[in-house]
């Protein structure tokens, strides 16, 4: 029996970046094919080509013995390809049953009028829900069900649309151990029915447990495909990260920060909505402090509170021993705080500004008075500053007058960093600083962080990428449910320790790496 889908020599280029370089991938009936790779390896891009979101620059896709240059979303759907994204796409405002039939409501004709066929809907929905083990009243609104139930719902949705190939993008990220086990049961059943499953993950333990074959991608290139039974986890890790160990950026001179001067001290910070609960910590001279934790654990809210960009809260913040009175980002910037936000496009840069104007935002604000309203621009100074930063940070651009939207993600991020440099920044928070950034820019940003720390600036890094935290930070705090639940020294921490602390399942997770 042939493959359900064959993707051959797929290349996808975006302006300035080759996201996928000559990748081949296939799915056979009744198998779980694991797609493995670090963030930015190209897993999601490859799957988006399969679902018809992107068109490949070159390459062929064969589905149901038909060859395509690219699939449209319609082709993909009609060929039984169904993707369950990490950020689930169920609609909270609809019931479970309605969600299953979004966009494909069964109809029947009564006296020439087409009406919704509720009996068929109920019957098909209950069949599918039974299969995935989601036993609930079908009229319950989806906003009232748990994340794992939403995931089951997504699978039921795929089954109803006769999916032959189901892609699951990191499905266990926000599941507990028992929920994960339940998901694996469902996957095994789907397998036995001859469906092909693409399972995207970077949890080694899961791969061994559920996978049949594994394909590894690295920086948009194909590394190899192995049978899960015949491969050791060590080999997979080497395949996945092997060629780009970016080195480590730890402080090499100091091993114990307790005796170093304190730069930033946070005392008993709480938020009214309970997303941050009574948090206290210190950062020391020369130290990079990392924050790990699941998305939604309250890390970003904590940073927003310190920086003054979030709603009012309780607690005290001291910078170099001085108590800060922060009401908004304007105050905190005047005190010398800086924040590189998680989402460049939404909160990082002005898309109507060129590089120079984006870089000058902070320096202009700093020299102005009355809340930034009184002050004159200094054209010459702006140009000079922009040129210095572009050169220092090695921003690839045609000139400082180029619009920032024309740059690649890494260079955009460098411009954003540039606006905080040379303006008296004393303390800087990086929230997911290398999201969607090429490897080269990544290591340059890590180097910059270390330089800042060595210059005596306070540095905090919030990241969901554990390898990033492990290679950059000197101390790592694990955040969960609005609290720091554990703090690790870099010398005695592993990825597994952080994961078990942040999911609260210590003891249950075996050491596998």
């Amino acid at each position: 029996m042939g493959s359900l889908v064959k993707m051959k020599n797929i290349t996808k280029k975006f302006p300035g970046v080759t996201a996928l370089d000559n990748i081949s991938f296939d799915i056979e009936p009744g198998e779980v094919h694991v797609l493995l790779g670090e963030n930015g390896a190209g897993k999601s891009t490859l799957m988006k080509i399969l679902s018809g979101v992107y068109r490949p620059t070159s390459g062929k896709i064969t589905v149901n013995e038909k060859e395509y240059d690219y699939l449209t979303p319609k082709d993909s759907y009609e060929n039984g390809i169904s993707i369950i994204y990490q950020e689930l796409s169920v609609i909270n405002e609809l019931s479970i049953m309605e969600n299953i039939f979004v966009g494909k409501i069964p109809v029947k004709t009564i006296m020439g009028i087409r009406v919704i066929d509720y009996p068929t809907m109920r019957q098909k929905a209950s069949e599918a829900l039974l299969k995935v083990g989601l036993i609930r009243d079908m009229n319950v609104f989806v906003e009232n069900i748990s994340i794992s139930e939403k995931q089951q719902l997504e699978i039921a949705k795929a089954l109803v649309s006769n999916a032959e190939i189901i892609v699951m993008d990191e499905p266990t990220t926000s599941l507990t151990i028992s929920e994960t086990e339940h998901l694996f049961k469902i996957i095994k059943q789907l397998k036995s029915e001859g469906k092909g499953i693409v399972y995207i993950s970077h949890k080694m333990k899961e791969i061994k447990e559920i996978g049949d074959r594994v394909t590894v991608l690295k920086d948009g290139t194909y590394v190899g495909t192995r049978k899960v039974d015949e491969v050791e986890i060590d080999e997979l890790v080497t395949m996945m990260v092997g060629r780009t160990i970016h080195g480590t950026y730890h402080n090499k001179n100091i091993s114990d920060f307790k005796n170093e001067p304190v730069i930033l001290e946070v005392k008993n910070i709480s938020k009214k909505d309970g997303k941050v609960k009574n948090v206290s910590f210190k950062t020391h001279k020369g130290e990079i402090l990392g924050f790990a934790g699941l998305v939604g654990s309250g890390r970003t809210e904590l940073m927003d509170t310190i920086f003054g960009s979030g709603p009012k809260s309780y607690g005290e913040v001291f910078l170099n021993g001085r108590k800060l009175d922060i009401k908004n980002p304007y105050n905190s910037i005047k005190y010398g705080l800086a924040m590189v936000t998680e989402n460049r496009r939404e909160t990082g840069f002005m898309d109507n500004f060129d590089i120079k104007q984006n870089i000058s935002v902070i320096s202009n604000l700093k020299k102005s008075k009355a809340g930034g309203t009184i002050g004159l621009l200094d054209d010459k100074g702006e140009v000079e500053k922009a040129q210095i930063q572009v050169k220092d940070l090695r921003v690839k651009c045609t000139s400082i007058h180029q619009n920032i939207t024309e740059l690649s993600g890494g260079n955009q991020q460098k411009v954003i960093l540039g606006k905080w440099m040379g303006v008296g920044t004393e303390f800087i928070i990086f929230d997911e600083p290398t999201k969607g950034i090429d490897v080269g820019s990544k290591s340059e940003i890590y180097e910059l962080m270390r330089r800042l720390a060595e210059d005596g600036k306070g540095v905090i890094v919030v990241s969901s990428e554990l390898p990033e935290l492990l290679s950059v930070c000197d101390t790592i705090c694990v955040f969960k449910d609005g609290k720091i639940i554990d703090t690790f020294d870099i010398k005695n921490v592993t990825e597994e320790k952080i994961v078990s602390a942040s999911t609260g399942e210590s003891g249950k997770v075996k050491e596998v790496n």
């Binding site: 002005m350 902070i362 009184i374 002050g375 621009l377």
Partner: protein
């Protein structure tokens, strides 16, 4: 193969420069085309000092309103109350003068009133968090109502001669309303190009959240924008009563439409963050010349509305088309 890629590149280069040309000179080009068209159709109507000063004078009130409106649109908002602010300011200034307040003092107070009305707009926008469209739609009606109440729905006239004379006189052959409009435009150009606050307003228009994270006080600048718009509308209202010689309770009704049109035709992006004061002035002149030209060509005024409406849609579509074509 190679030559083909070269050709392609040259083609795209050409297109880029055309795009830039359009963005820089598009509105001036439209103005030039209109002037030439009028010169061909009716030479006598345009080639005289009086006709030129007439076009400029007629456009000055709209330009004053439009350069204020420009800032409201620049932060991706809008100010629908500029016509009503002009009417109320004009009415109160008229009342003051008729009541014996010296013209210069009355003018100064009038401008303060315009600023205060703008402040109310900004205050409501900031406090409620509603879109400026809603707030200024409301204040448009409220300010008009106050105008009717304070005037008893009657026109006010009988201003000191020094005031009406002053407004309708010329300095070195340039009518005073034109001088006022140009001065305001020059000050605002300086403001947008050379001050931190001006740059911050562009930043807010481009990305409000990023501006907030960069320490820009969004509410403070929003307030500033509506005060500027109020001041400009106030000045427009004072010029208007000077030119007409009376303050009418229904004055400047619907003028916000022309102000918005001038800003848009002048290249201001409705999504915020893009535009120039100079472009808005040209936009105001384009509307002025269409009205003047069509009157000169004895086209009924109802048709003038259709032409202006068509021009708004055409100029924005063209702008869009050229900007997105790559």
């Amino acid at each position: 193969m190679e030559s083909e890629s070269k050709k392609l590149r040259r083609g795209s280069l050409k297109e880029v420069s055309f795009r830039e040309m359009w963005q820089k000179y598009g509105t001036v080009g439209i103005l030039a085309v209109l002037v030439i068209a009028l010169a061909i159709l009716k030479p006598a109507s345009i080639f005289s000092a009086t006709s030129i000063s007439q076009i400029l004078t007629q456009s000055s009130v709209n330009i004053l309103l439009a350069v204020g409106e420009f800032f409201a649109i620049l932060i991706a908002g809008i100010d629908l109350s500029v016509g009503s602010i002009a009417a109320l300011t004009g009415m109160l200034t008229a009342k003051l003068m008729v009541g014996g307040v010296p013209p210069l003092t009355a003018i100064f107070l009038g401008i303060l009133i315009g600023a205060a009305l703008g402040f109310v707009n900004g205050f409501l926008v900031n406090k409620t968090g509603l879109h400026p469209f809603i707030i200024t739609l409301g204040t448009q009606a409220i300010y008009r109502g106050i105008t009717l109440i304070t005037s008893g729905a009657r026109s006010v006239f009988g201003f000191p001669i020094s005031f009406t004379k002053g407004i309708s006189s010329s300095i070195f052959g340039v009518p005073v309303p034109v001088i006022i409009a140009i001065s305001v435009a020059v000050i605002l150009t300086f403001f947008t190009k050379k001050t931190v606050a001006g740059r911050n307003i562009y930043a807010i228009g481009g990305n409000k959240d990023a501006a907030w994270y960069s320490g820009i006080n969004v509410k403070l600048h929003t307030m500033m924008v509506f005060i500027i718009s109020g001041i400009c509308a106030g000045i427009a209202g004072i010029v208007l009563i000077g030119r007409v010689g009376a303050a009418e309770p229904g004055a400047a009704t619907g003028f916000e439409t022309y102000a918005i049109a001038a800003a848009i035709i002048g290249g201001t992006s409705f999504f915020g963050g893009k535009g120039k004061v100079f472009g808005v002035v040209i936009g105001g002149l384009i509307i002025g010349i269409i009205n003047y030209g069509m009157t000169a060509l004895t086209v009924p005024s109802s048709y003038q509305q259709i032409v202006m409406g068509g021009l708004i849609i055409l100029s924005v579509t063209l702008d869009r088309f050229i900007a997105t074509k790559k």
